[in-house]
Symmetry: C2
């Protein structure tokens, strides 16, 4: 059975201003959008189990191609049944291409048109990622959605550097797309090699999404979109190279420039975002999907998202506070423990604290997306009103 | 309603050789013996949640008075509803008295007949524990079972040092017992102060168990038992000062000397033990209760107990091993993940690995106790036969 685009269907149910809510159908399940994807960099969302993620309502998880390639290696993952079985996550998965990692990790890096030579953060060894290799690795891992290998320019890159990275990203997209097409055809013809078969099982299907680059240069972003759309009929489009240090208004400007030009029936994924306020702002500007390490990284640092803004649980004010972390939340941390106990776990450096705050923050962002879906379904103007209320509460002064 | 001993009832159901199986009734539930108690030193069993502990079948958890006194302080625990509510554990709890900790921690320590002055491991500040204070702190924490404050002589202490520690332990037991009786009476009369009330709620009941000392000196141990039994009618008896570095046969010798002299209708708790082979040997010698950090500490180090002996999951042999950690085990780690994935979690230093191996090891010891209970119920000779089989398998050479 050939892999066709309608196997990766996206249906928009309602809009409110520029925001949309819809359903994305993927081989391992459906995803209601807007959606926040927790990040499982090394094949595990830090401190959380798949059961935790399901209890938090996670519909799709992101894993990192670069990290899994370096350790344990995609062939190991394939021999252990592919990424879904490896990490015991039976819902949809998306793998990042490794582009962002090789361009943002410290250490040696050499870029040419062929690809990127870089230094492994694990053993210091030199390795090379090319568009073809990044595509093959992701195919071997077997996520539902693979991302094209892109050249990410640093935040604040000038026009020439952004143009250079964009042109390379577009050339690489063509090569990723060609290689992904070959692998799909081979798979359909039953000619795929051993590791691919082992990794993915008989029901394996995967789609490839391009990443739009162009820095904060509006004209470049619009050109990138135009040229990417001319290159194929995509089941999803990612916006990369934002939230990398540029001022927030710049990010909003790019999103606003892209929104009217993006095909309505294709899901839009804003990579590496975010924090609660960024999620709300981006959904208002038409974004459907997000990923970020913020909820788990902040959770491990003792910072919890709440409707009244972030709080740091180590704060001495919580020492004998018997109230829940966030009284509006239904997660295990908020329904089981007092702030005083959670503070004790962090002060005493107990592992359970890392888990509980990570779980809460993931649940917080998933509930935030749920709330936005509900507001969007109420129709025109409803999301804007909801967002104003939400911002007023989240940014009010004088809270913890 | 006065607190009477029959509220802390122990009924022996069956014996096999020197081993027994029974039911211990405590205010927060019943405990089938032999039983392994996971250790929640700081009010949390490291890396595990109460739900994890229930999934592992834990019936009772131990917490450490010394650690909770130093941080967050027993008054904080009391203000947050007492230890059960603080750590969200609604089954029985036992608190160690702090004796073992103040005698085994590094740093300044001054012992006299009044008590022990020691240095906090958290802030270096000098603090003093006396039998009365240790009893009051445990009362404030509100566990089902409190332990008497004892003088623990170092492993291998000579007769004079062991005698000295024993005499002090007996004098201190009298003071603990007196103070515990006063607190109980005050409670029954409704005169207990604010923090005690807050900590424990209306249904608070607590029993105090003595700790038998005497090092590896058989005569001292027998004398200690005799004198402790003369001092009161106890609902449980703990054997302390073993598994502190002495040769294993010495420990078995002491257990064998005590066994015929211990009152049959009183549960026997061997403190700080242990490892699977020690559990089996001690149950054969009449012990009913155990606690040890071994399952969680070993789990965090990547060592898993299995019926074929311990294995270290970091071993390169497990890199692509798709089989479960322990195919006979029903825990989340063994029913969800491959050895290859668990190895990856440890090699990649992911927090989930610490949790999963801790959970498995706790479940392993609880299943081991379950298996011994079943064998004992089969009657005379059955446990010995089971133990021989178990040891043959656990110590077989040539496994991981």
């Amino acid at each position: 059975m050939p892999v066709t685009d309608h196997e990766f269907q996206f249906i928009v149910h309602a809009t409110s201003g520029g925001a949309r809510t819809g359903t994305l159908t993927l081989p391992h399940g459906t995803v209601e959008t807007p959606v926040f994807m927790p990040v499982g960099t090394q094949g595990t969302v830090k401190a959380l189990s798949p059961a935790d993620l399901k209890s938090a309502g996670a519909a799709i998880v992101l894993a990192n191609t670069y990290h899994l390639h370096v350790r344990p290696g995609e062939e190991v993952v394939a021999q252990l049944g592919g990424l879904h079985r490896f990490m015991a996550w039976d819902r949809p998965l998306l793998t990042d291409s490794g582009g962002f990692q090789v361009f943002s990790l410290a250490g040696f890096r050499r870029v040419d048109d062929d690809g990127v030579e870089f230094q492994s953060h694990v053993d210091g060894g030199r390795r090379t990622l090319t568009p073809e290799r990044a595509t093959e690795i992701q195919w071997t891992l077997g996520a539902d959605i693979a991302m094209a290998f892109d050249h990410v320019a640093p935040g604040g890159a000038d026009l020439a550097a952004s143009r250079d990275a964009l042109e390379r990203t577009l050339r690489w997209l063509q090569r990723c797309s060609r290689r992904h097409g070959e692998l799909t055809e081979r798979w359909n013809d039953g000619q795929t090699g051993r590791s691919f078969q082992l990794s993915n099982g008989p029901s394996f299907r995967q789609t490839l999404w391009p990443i739009l680059q162009g820095g904060t240069h509006r004209a470049l972003r619009e050109e990138a979109l135009q040229r990417v759309l001319e290159m194929g009929s995509w089941t999803g489009l990612a916006i990369g190279g934002l939230s990398v240090g540029e001022p927030k208004p710049k990010m909003y400007e790019v999103l606003e420039a892209l929104a009217p030009r993006l095909p309505p029936a294709v899901p839009r994924y804003l990579m590496g975002v975010g924090f609660p306020e960024d999620l709300v702002a981006a959904v208002e500007r038409g974004v459907d999907m997000f990923d970020c390490v913020a909820p788990t990284r902040n959770g491990r640092n003792g910072t919890a998202f709440t409707p009244e803004g972030p709080l740091n649980i180590r704060n001495a004010a919580f020492r004998t506070d018997a109230s829940p972390l966030d009284p509006t939340c239904d997660c295990e941390a908020c329904t089981t423990y007092s702030r005083g106990y959670l503070r004790h776990l962090f002060v005493a450096e107990e592992l359970l604290g890392l888990r509980l705050l990570s779980l809460h923050n993931v649940r917080y962002l998933i509930r935030l997306a749920e709330a936005m879906r509900a507001a969007i379904r109420k129709g025109e103007g409803a999301l804007a009103a909801w967002a104003d209320d939400w911002r007023r509460r989240y940014t009010q002064p004088g809270t913890a």
